[in-house]
């Protein structure tokens, strides 16, 4: 059993990392641990959690900016934002239900450390796009900051954004500052049934090419659609393709009408009102389409043009259920458990289509063997190694989690 360390201040974290550094003891870095099952298992004698670095340190609704200590639960951040009619625009996913832990525990630091963005990313940008400042401690046990609390800031290199998606392997974030946005007055969703994947992606891309600011586009294959519980979609047996518009009421009504008209060749959609829309997109955020099971789950990022073909290619090798988000640019692939998690076939298909793939759910034994994150080109690997060296020369932080030898 690893020792669990819970620093409550930057200096305490600094002193812990300095001690570990002196003894060359690697350490696993976690927030609430909801995504601990993603990545290679980290071999470390100790665990540092940001759980005691908690609290919202700055919130200026009139400036659309918030700072929170890294261990603050996203649920607390969102409750505070909602009390002033605001939200996290990039609606981070909650991996909890897909990875057999409870929903609602994820910390705000982890959202940025993993660049976790949901469906609205396609219109408003990713978690990384909303991050404007960090404080943290690197593997050298140095406290540093980057960015700040203002929206526009090009002073020096963008180290804050450079740390997003580094999964705790470069530095431990202790405080994050990010842009927030007003909650829309109204939300509507139109849902098309029974479209095959290629047509669904065509529809979603067409919708994104309209001026109606569609803020969510997903397509679920029948088995995934069947897991949606929001009425009136519950019990659906065919595929579902959903488009979301959000704005003030008059605008939502107008834009929904225009979309249905523009896309009428694809059939008559079911319309979800505000409540049903919040229910449905909430389920997408909690990954209700892929609840915890033995099945393998992959996340593939590619061009919307290539997504359907990529999945069709894979179906020649294995049964695949898929949920497409970001108008087809993000594909969640669910396949039956197998020895290499389908890595060889999936990586080959992704190499042809362009993009990258990450193994999100698999048994620990599988994750030990398979490259969980997309293998890097040699030139990029060299840079990654150098970056790791620049932040964490002794390799203390989450060793091997992203890349086995790093």
């Amino acid at each position: 059993m690893s020792e669990i360390l819970k620093p409550a201040a930057d200096w305490e974290l600094k002193s812990i990392l300095a001690q570990l550094g002196e003894q060359n003891l690697p350490v696993e870095i976690v927030g609430a641990g909801t995504k601990r099952a993603i990545g290679h298992p980290v071999m470390a004698a100790a665990v540092i959690t940001t759980a005691s670095l908690r609290g919202i340190s700055l919130y200026e609704p009139t400036e659309l900016v918030m700072s929170a200590r890294a261990g603050t639960p996203v649920s607390q951040v969102e409750a505070e934002l909602a009390s002033r009619g605001q939200m996290l625009p990039f609606e981070p996913l909650d991996y909890g239900p897909a990875l057999a832990s409870r929903p609602g525990l994820q910390t705000i630091g982890a959202v940025f450390a993993t660049n976790n963005s949901g469906s609205r990313r396609i219109t408003v940008g990713s978690a990384r796009d909303h991050l404007i400042g960090v404080r943290g401690v690197n593997g050298r046990a140095e406290i540093f900051k980057s960015g700040g609390r203002v929206m526009k800031n090009v002073t020096g290199y963008d180290v804050a954004r450079g740390l997003t998606g580094s999964w705790g392997t470069l530095a431990v974030l202790t405080e994050v500052t990010f842009k927030v946005a007003p909650l829309p007055d109204d939300v509507a969703t139109i849902v098309y049934s029974g479209l095959p994947e290629d047509l669904a992606i065509e529809l979603m891309s067409l919708a994104m090419g309209t001026p109606y600011e569609v803020s969510g586009t997903v397509h679920l294959t029948p088995a995934h659609a069947a897991r949606i519980a929001t009425p009136p979609l519950a019990g659906e047996t065919t595929s579902l393709t959903a488009l979301r518009v959000e704005n003030f009421m008059k605008s939502v009504r107008y834009r929904k009408g225009r979309l249905i008209e523009t896309l009428k060749a694809y059939g008559q959609p079911v319309e979800l009102d505000l409540e049903a829309s919040l229910g449905f997109w909430g389920e997408i955020r909690r990954m209700a389409f892929a609840p915890a099971s033995d099945a393998i789950l992959w996340r593939v990022s590619t061009s919307p043009r290539k997504a359907a073909e990529l999945v069709a290619t894979l179906r020649r090798h294995m049964p695949v259920e898929a949920t497409y988000d970001w108008s087809g640019g993000l594909v969640w692939l669910e396949i039956p458990d197998c020895a290499d998690a389908g890595a060889a076939d999936i990586r080959r298909a992704v190499a042809i289509a362009g993009g990258h793939s990450t193994l999100i759910r698999a048994r620990e034994a599988v994750r030990r063997e398979v490259e969980v994150f997309q293998p890097q080109a040699p030139a990029i690997e060299k840079l990654s190694r150098g970056l790791k060296q620049a932040f964490d020369p002794r390799g203390l932080l989450n060793p091997g989690r992203m890349y086995q030898t790093m």
Partner: protein
Amino acid sequence: MSSIALPDPELSVLDRREAIVKDLVAIAGVGAVIADDDGRRAYETDAFTAYKRMPLAVVLPETTESVAAVLGYCHANGIKVVPRGAGTSLCGGALPAEDAVVIGVSRMNKVLEVDTVARFARVQTGITNLAISAAVGPSGFFYAPDPSSQLACTLAGNIAMNSGGAHCLKYGVTTNNVLGVKMVMMDGSIVEIGGEHLDAEGYDFLALIIGSEGQLGIVTEATVRILRQAEGARPMLIGFESTAKASICVSRIIASGIVPVAIEFMDRPAIEVCEAFAKAGYPLDVEALLIVEVEGSEEEIADRLAYIAGLAQEVGPSSLVISADDAQSAKIWKGRKSAFGAIGRKADYLCMDGTIPLSQLTYVLEEISNICKRYGLGVANVFHAGDGNLHPLIMYDANDPRQAERAEQAGADILRLCVAAGGCLTGEHGVGIEKRDLMRVQFSDMDLAQQMRIKSLFDERWLLNPAKVFPLDGRPLPASRPAEPAIAAE
């Protein structure tokens, strides 16, 4: 002006100039190398014109491979390189050095691929910002970041500086709109990062490269996000008798749950100059003017403008005018975007670029006015109020060295004020040489060391765009000669 220290050139490089030029011609071709005095003089400065340095030579390659060959040669021979887009930097980001080769990307300006289904454009980075939107405009799309210099500035420069623009309140800045790059490293190797997909894999090198002021590599191609144009857009002009009222109005609009596509602010001196230039119908009897723009269909626009007008009425505006038609809208934006140029016709100016938290706006504007008064200089303010990115234009006479020095001092005081108010030194123009020696006002030595380690990772010998961004002292490697003490404008 000469208060910003620039290292003396390396004599060993200057002595080899003839041989270096010959080699460059052999590598890049005679048509790509500019070595004569007149030709080089066109490159001796950028839009921060107070500083000039004649470059060793200028190379304008036409391919990524040619850039790679030149960089590889310079790397092997320890020759410094200054990358250049259109040379519109306001902070000396493209200022050459006598012992450095300028590599300009201006001849690499082709659109390589446009995909309106996957919504990206792949372009060579010598293309101007506006030319990207022009290329995708006929299909109803646009490239979002819109710096005022967009007619001239290149995407390469935008990437180097992480440029913003008037509409980034809604659409973000360059780093939010670039999906992938092809970049030549200082050693001449070519790397590709990101692509057509929305999130690049692995460590976020794009974040580090964009905004690194050309110090990590030369980006020759980029894949940028293109967005569908709104059905329409219309600005309104709201004038106030005081800047305090204008800034209350900005806060109220944002707190109300509306994020307009732009909220621009001008004070009286700026309004007068811009109105004389653009005849846009700006009110001339107000102390502060807001340009607020919303997008959507005719009805949506009318609805939102009416709502914003309602909010503004509560603050008590002196005038409130909604743009009558597209022609007036164009004039309103023309006035705003030519503000710097129009003021430049009246006086020389230094343009500051600090960002502050909006809640500090009234206080900071008052202090800016006090600072400039103290130095006996005029100031005009025209800036992006929605995001707190100030642009005080300090007016002075460049022919009077004492005035010029006072202007620099006033500028430094203003930037210190911005940092003290919770903001930063530069919101979109970059550090360059101009703010290099103020970096410690914002960052600790440890913060800077972390950034400099990234610089060393990409360019171990610090040959790329030297003497910029970081204070000359405290760099991890000894410069080629002992660094001069940085003379901050005290």
